[in-house]
């Protein structure tokens, strides 16, 4: 079943990569260049999965997670945090903010697909 995913990252290259990969798998993908942008888009619509970078200029991924969890429609939207290393401190913050999971950059396309599939299977 086709799902809608939003990719939030300040790097257009990453957004493109994620978008391309997931669309090949039949999902619909929308994009946001930054946490604030994503929040504005998601205030009025639901998605099946949020994949967000952690480090972004105006609003970072952790803050975005926190804010999304405060909105009724996104109480249980799966949120994956993208990080460049397995940072226990960041993971702790992410967990506390309510994120669903994390994924380490750099990742291969098939890895992304595998993780996304796992998320949708839960």
């Amino acid at each position: 079943m086709a799902k809608t995913v939003i990719t939030v990252d300040d790097s257009s290259a990453i957004r493109m990569m994620i978008s391309f990969t997931l669309r090949t798998a039949g999902h619909e993908v929308i994009q946001a260049a930054d946490g604030l942008d994503a929040l504005n888009q998601l205030k009025t619509r639901g998605v099946d999965l949020v994949i967000t970078d952690v480090h972004m200029p105006q609003m970072d991924g952790i803050e975005l997670t926190r804010r999304l969890r405060g909105l009724p429609i996104h109480k249980s939207t799966p949120i994956l945090l993208l990080t460049t290393e397995s940072d226990p401190a960041m993971k702790a913050k992410g967990k506390e903010a309510g994120a669903t999971g994390w994924l380490v950059k750099p990742f291969q396309q098939d890895q992304l697909l595998a993780v996304v599939a796992k998320v949708f299977a839960r």
């Binding site: 290259a13 669903t100 999971g101 994924l103 380490v104 990742f107 993780v115």
Partner: protein, 728 residues
């Protein structure tokens, strides 16, 4: 072990390990590029082995045990029991980062840090045991919060039971490069530099104070001190110089990681690794260069797919070039990516209110691209999206300008971009020419000096011309714009020698100009001392120095001076082009013009000076044919020439190439009209005059505007415009 010793050991460990890890990275990268040698894995092994040993001894068990795991894997690779592959290489690079992280932690906090890198360790062990398989490594790169049972979140047992691949091989100690070098604290070198600087000043003072004394013994001694000081100075300066390759060595790794992260393929080409720079410059440019490279890869170079769609090879090219020129270090970073669209930059700048529409309208292409360096624009969406985590192009520029350099950008959409950085080799001691202007003395860095010209008496009047009020000097056929130093600085000139003009021909950013001064003294070596911040802003001074007599003298900033005067220069050139267009086309009433008077046969011809670029002499035999026109090879190009005698139908010496004396030199007047040059051949040149003339138009005469009486002779005024049409 006492504290001090411990501290020193720790410092040594950190420095050594970080250096080793850089080399380690290079070995792994070499393998990835297919450039590995039989020594590659050996070297890699040794580096990790050393880290393990020293950290163990100094009291960092965590580092020791992490190093141990890597050492085991590398030992296996070194012995050839397992072939390496790209998975292993990637893991090893991550491993190197982990060790680096630990070293940094030790450096900053004194302890090894909280991370235990358990997952990394586990991965390496798995690789060693040969479990690593398919393209997707099994290392836990993701996880779910609150799911304590997943593999990712399980605690890992310490690697104490890792299989030992046999005794560590003891190698015969090879005399490494490290043995012939010692580590010196940077502060020490700086102190040495200061002392040498002071010594040079004192030497200058001695030379000056004893110059007039006749004592031969004293003079010899002073000479020796002179020589020794110079040599000492050079030697100390050398110790501070490092090849730029030291900074560049980190880039292959950064680029590789970025490419992996962004799915791009970029080849890095480095030219000029050996170019040497002073330490302080190297420190200052590290971060700006890293940022610029990241930018180029993130925003400049497209993904392989996009590149193929654009007709480019899938692999992008990033070229770093470093070279010395004109007393400066030049660094160029060029990529063949999608480039920067100046129009979009202007759009963004307008949007953000950083520039007004009128200003934007008046900007040249270069100036538009330059907007990229404005704070507020740099971290914004210039090409496609938000970039850089807090470090923008404005910071890059500031950092480079802090060390006295400059940076600018050139780009064509679709064809990538080039960033050019120029940094003065501010080694504190430079040779300089001392000149007088007004009551003051100034020093001009010899690196910018082209030549010295002394113009006497009536030659002054003859060679000095004015093109639309800006003075120029005709130096061997070239028109050299002049800058009057006294005028620029707003001081009263004091001509030291009657009737004589002193010109210092200087080079600034590829353009030459002549600086008019009151008097020229000697060249000497001076110590460059920085000016107070406030003075720097004036733009015309590069620093100050203390002369032999103890007085301060200002050092002129040649480029700054040229720029300041260029307000005149630019507008005068523009104006001269404008007036050339007018003069060449117009028939005037009474107007004062500068004219070149020449002879063709028995006729006297006048050509407006403003149309003339150069005066040359060529043998008629150099004239060749191209289509219906006559041309000559001129300065590497093919230039059309017109024989006036032929055009005007006059029998002259230049009429017909079958002339008996083909090798005889004939004057060639190189005319410039808008973009194209063409040459006009006359029989002889008579004079250059400035006259008020009245032109009577004459119909039917091709190439002539009209006639006038110049210096009591009937003279035909050339229609340069028409001549240009005839020529081309």
């Amino acid at each position: 072990m006492n504290e001090d010793l411990q501290q020193q050991l720790v410092k040594e460990l950190v420095v050594e390990s970080l250096e080793g890890l850089d080399t380690f990275d290079q070995e792994i990268l070499a393998f990835e590029h297919g450039d590995e040698t039989p020594d590659t894995w050996n070297n890699a092994f040794r580096i990790i082995h050393t880290i393990k040993g020293s950290s163990g001894c100094i009291g960092f068990p965590k580092v020791e045990s992490v190093a141990h795991v890597g050492e085991s894997l590398l030992s296996v690779l070194r012995d050839g029991h397992r072939p390496a592959d790209s998975n292993i290489a990637s893991s090893l690079l991550q491993y190197s980062d982990a060790l680096r992280e630990m070293m940094r932690s030790i450096e900053q906090t004194g302890n090894e840090g909280a991370a235990d890198h358990a997952d990394l360790v586990q991965n390496l062990q798995a690789l060693q045991a040969g479990i690593s398989g398919a393209a997707a490594p099994e290392k836990p790169t993701f996880g779910f919060f609150g799911d304590e049972n997943t593999e990712a979140n399980q605690p890992v047992t310490p690697p104490a039971s890792a299989p030992q691949p046999g005794a560590v091989v003891k190698e015969a100690p090879k005399p490494s490069a490290a043995d012939s070098a010692i580590r010196v604290d940077v502060g020490q070198i700086d102190r040495l530099m200061n002392l040498v600087g002071e010594l040079v000043l004192a030497r200058n003072q001695i030379v000056q104070a004893t110059g007039h004394l006749g004592d031969p013994g004293l003079l010899t001694a002073v000479q020796r001190v002179n020589l020794i000081t110079s040599e000492l100075q050079e030697s100390v300066m050398k110790t501070r110089m490092q090849p730029i390759g030291n900074v560049w060595s980190k880039f292959p790794r950064i680029i590789r990681d970025l490419c992996h992260e962004l799915g791009k393929d970029v080849a890095l080409v480095l030219e000029g690794n050996e170019t040497e720079l002073d330490r302080t410059i190297i420190e200052a440019i590290k971060d700006p260069m890293t940022h610029l490279i990241r930018n180029a890869i993130d925003h400049g170079i497209e993904t392989p797919d996009a590149r193929i769609a654009a007709g480019k090879p899938a692999q992008g090219r990033l070229v770093l070039r470093a070279f010395h020129e004109g007393g400066q270090v030049n660094i160029e970073i060029s990529d063949d990516g999608k480039g920067i669209d100046a129009a979009r930059v202007v759009e963004k700048a307008l949007q953000r209110g950083l520039v007004s529409p009128e200003q934007a309208g008046r900007m040249s292409h270069r100036e538009q691209l330059d907007l990229v360096f404005l704070p507020g624009l740099s971290t914004a969406d210039i090409v496609t999206n938000v970039s850089g985590r807090g470090v923008g192009m404005d910071v890059v520029r500031t950092n480079i300008e802090k060390i006295g350099g400059n940076v600018n950008l050139d780009s064509e959409p679709g064809h990538g971009a080039v960033i050019r950085i120029k940094i003065p080799l501010t080694l504190a001691i430079i040779p300089a020419l001392v000149v007088n202007c007004g009551d003051d003395r100034f020093a001009i860095p010899a690196a910018s000096l082209v030549e010295l010209v002394r113009i006497e008496g009536d030659q002054v009047a003859r060679s000095l011309e004015h093109i639309h009020e800006a003075p120029v000097y005709r130096l061997r056929g070239d028109l050299l714009p002049l800058v009057d130093l006294a005028k620029e600085l707003g001081i009263t000139a004091r001509r030291h020698v009657e009737d004589t003009l002193f010109l210092v021909v200087l080079q600034a950013e590829g353009r030459q100009f002549g600086l008019v001064v009151d008097n020229i003294q000697d060249t000497e070596e001076i110590v460059v001392k920085p000016l107070a911040r406030e003075m720097k802003g004036l733009g015309v001074y590069a620093g100050a120095t203390i002369m032999g007599d103890g007085k301060v003298a200002l050092i002129l900033d040649v480029v700054g001076l040229a720029r300041r005067a260029a307000l005149l220069e630019e507008s005068s050139r523009h104006a001269s082009r404008e007036s050339a267009k007018q003069t060449c086309a117009a028939e005037g009433a009474e107007e004062s013009r500068s004219l070149l008077l020449a002879r063709v046969g028995r006729n006297r011809i006048a050509i407006p000076l403003s149309c003339i670029a150069r005066l040359e002499e060529i043998p008629l035999s150099r004239i060749e044919n191209a289509g219906h026109s006559e041309v000559i090879q001129y300065r590497g190009r093919i230039m059309s020439v017109v024989r006036l005698s032929a055009v005007l139908g006059i029998e002259g010496e230049s009429f017909g190439s079958g002339a008996p004396d083909c090798e005889r030199l004939m004057p060639l007047v190189v005319c410039a009209l808008e973009k194209d040059n063409f040459g006009v051949i006359v029989d002889s040149i008579e004079d250059i005059v400035e006259e008020q003339i009245r032109i009577e138009a004459r119909e039917g005469q091709r190439g002539i505007l009209g006639s006038a009486i110049v210096r009591q002779k009937v003279t035909d005024l050339l229609d340069v415009r028409e001549l240009a049409r005839i020529a081309v």
